[in-house]
């Protein structure tokens, strides 16, 4: 069982040419995620969502505090789906998948093809990314993340660059694969509808990277945005968001809780 333990995590970016002052992305964040749960991290721009995932993935270092992603006591294997597909343009789809795979064998290729099939792309294994649409490229990104058999799956707004219809289709794919694999997932989004549709738990962050609220969702899956129960939860999350917005505006975040 995978565990992600985040303790007093702070990330402060030093001043740059664009920002004369230092920027606090995360301010003493504490979080504990255990088991095969799908957790959505929701917050407005500047709340440190992407920074949090980058630190969990080991791409960035925290200013202070610690992050431990463990599977049975050893460092967990991470699978990361980025906002953009991040595929090597000069490699074919299957080679892009095998690029992150340690083993190189016929079996690895079969596994890659299996995950491509799961995202509905079995026919494009030998094509180059430039031959695919943005939605198809993102599906390859999702398949690549599952190929490494991750203990912890990180998803950083994977649908934000896609049109509404393609985004909805990809959410279906993701939900289907996740239900089959049940990986511990951290899903960053600013879209409450997405969060309610996919997550077991929603953690709300406010600007400055401070946890504001933690909401458990116990609705049965698969969920559709049009379901009345899903809409009710969305309304509740949005109400709390509004409260957070007001609290942030008036500087009374703690009091508003």
């Amino acid at each position: 069982m995978a565990t992600v333990l985040i303790e007093n995590l702070t990330k402060i970016y030093p001043p740059t040419l664009n920002h004369a002052r230092q920027v606090q992305a995360l301010g003493g964040l504490n979080m504990s995620i255990t088991g095969n749960v799908f957790v959505a991290i929701v917050g407005p721009s500047g709340s440190g969502k992407t920074t949090l995932l980058n630190i969990v993935a080991g791409v960035e270092r925290p200013t202070s505090g610690s992050v431990r992603a463990l599977q049975e006591g050893v460092p967990a294997q991470i699978g990361y789906v980025f906002q953009e597909p991040r595929l090597l343009p000069w490699r074919t789809v299957v080679d892009n998948m095998l690029y992150v795979q340690d083993r190189k064998s016929d079996r690895s290729r079969r596994e890659a093809e299996f995950y491509l099939q799961m995202v509905g792309l079995s026919e494009v294994a030998d094509l180059y990314p430039s031959q695919l649409s943005a939605g198809m490229q993102q599906r390859v990104g999702i398949a690549r993340a599952f190929l490494v058999n991750p203990d912890v799956l990180l998803l950083d707004e994977p649908f934000s660059h896609l049109d509404a219809l393609t985004g909805r289709s990809l959410r279906d794919y993701l939900q289907r694969i996740w239900l089959q694999t049940r990986k511990t997932a951290l899903f960053v989004t600013h879209d409450v509808t997405e969060a309610v549709e996919l997550a077991d738990r929603i953690i709300m962050l406010r600007p400055g990277g401070v946890a504001y609220d933690d909401i458990a969702i116990t609705l049965p899956r698969p969920r559709r945005p049009a379901d009345p129960a899903v809409r009710d939860v969305q309304d509740e999350v949005l109400r709390r968001f509004d409260a957070m917005g007001a609290a942030v505006r008036f500087g009374t975040a703690q009091a508003a809780r």
């Binding site: 990361y80 980025f82 090597l88 990180l154």
Partner: protein
């Protein structure tokens, strides 16, 4: 089938066919769109201008004179008096020097470029030196090489090396710096080992600028080789061109200069361009049509 696919498959939705139309009969308008035809016209215009210049200025040798001269050189025939044709020896000597110079200069430039591109410290240390090398004209190397090595093969070889190194280094360093940071982050997050990153990410990411550097190294290396042979050698293509220039036999001089141009063009067309096409085939594939995507 997901909802989106069902929507896209609705009867009555017609997709635009982006496949190229079948080639019809060749018209004048169609010909003007063909790159080979435009190239042919350009060569024809050049030949015409040349021929016209030879009519108005008798000191400019005609194309027929040049061809006759080169045939005599190649067959070892007589140019009059004690002068006989020499072709293969100067050519093979120059090609040898060129090959040795590039064999040393390209890997050295690639290594330097990778280091400069990857390390800020190395950039500070080597960047100015590389820019100085880049700015120095080949004729300076010719004089320096003659001073240092006399009239031997070392001068021309050194000139090729010193010309190739900065062109390859500068372009490769730019290629390394331009690698998409998102791809580097992706590789780090998946823990891709350094060896695989080097082979797949660095090599693939720097390939466009590496080709630019290679092409410039090939062209300018050949250029500087000829200049150094002209001023500081007693053999080779550059020396032979100067020999005929000093002997006031302009058809001979122009013939060897022509050979220089033809060789570099053939080299580019037969080796570099096909290699480049092969390396960039990923960028030349048609995008899937809407129907194929479904």
């Amino acid at each position: 089938m997901s909802d989106i696919h069902a929507y896209q498959s609705l009867p009555g939705l017609r997709q635009h066919d982006s496949r190229p139309a079948a080639e019809g009969p060749l018209t004048m308008r169609g010909l003007l769109r063909r790159p080979w035809f435009i190239r042919l016209v350009a060569v024809g215009v050049l030949v015409f201008i040349w021929q016209w210049v030879t009519w108005v200025n008798t000191r400019v040798p005609g194309i027929d004179e040049i061809v006759r001269f080169m045939v005599t050189e190649m067959t070892g025939g007589s140019h009059g008096g004690a002068l006989t044709g020499e072709f293969w020896e100067p050519l093979s000597l120059s090609l040898q020097r060129y090959a040795i110079g590039l064999a040393v200069g390209i890997p050295a430039g690639a290594l330097l470029g990778l280091v400069i591109g990857a390390s800020r410290w190395a950039r500070g240390l080597f960047n100015d030196t590389v820019l100085v090398l880049l700015a120095l004209p080949a004729v300076v190397w010719a004089f320096l090489a003659s001073l240092w090595f006399g009239l031997s093969s070392a001068g021309p070889i050194l000139a090729v090396i010193l010309t190739a190194v900065p062109f390859v280094a500068v372009n490769l360093a730019a290629g390394v710096r331009n690698i998409d940071p998102g791809l580097v982050e992706m590789s780090r997050s998946y823990g891709v080992p350094a060896g695989r990153r080097l082979r797949h990410l660095l090599l693939g990411g720097t390939l466009p600028s590496a080709f630019t550097g290679l092409r410039l190294a090939f062209m300018t290396g050949w250029n500087s080789l000829l200049i150094v042979e002209w001023f500081g050698a007693t053999s080779g293509v550059g020396w032979r061109a100067r020999f005929w220039y000093d002997a006031l036999r302009y058809p001979g001089f122009v013939a060897w200069i022509f050979l220089f141009v033809i060789l570099i063009t053939v080299f580019d067309r037969l080796l570099l361009s096909p290699l480049e096409r092969r390396a960039f085939q990923w960028n030349q594939q048609p995008t899937l049509t809407f129907e194929e995507e479904l």
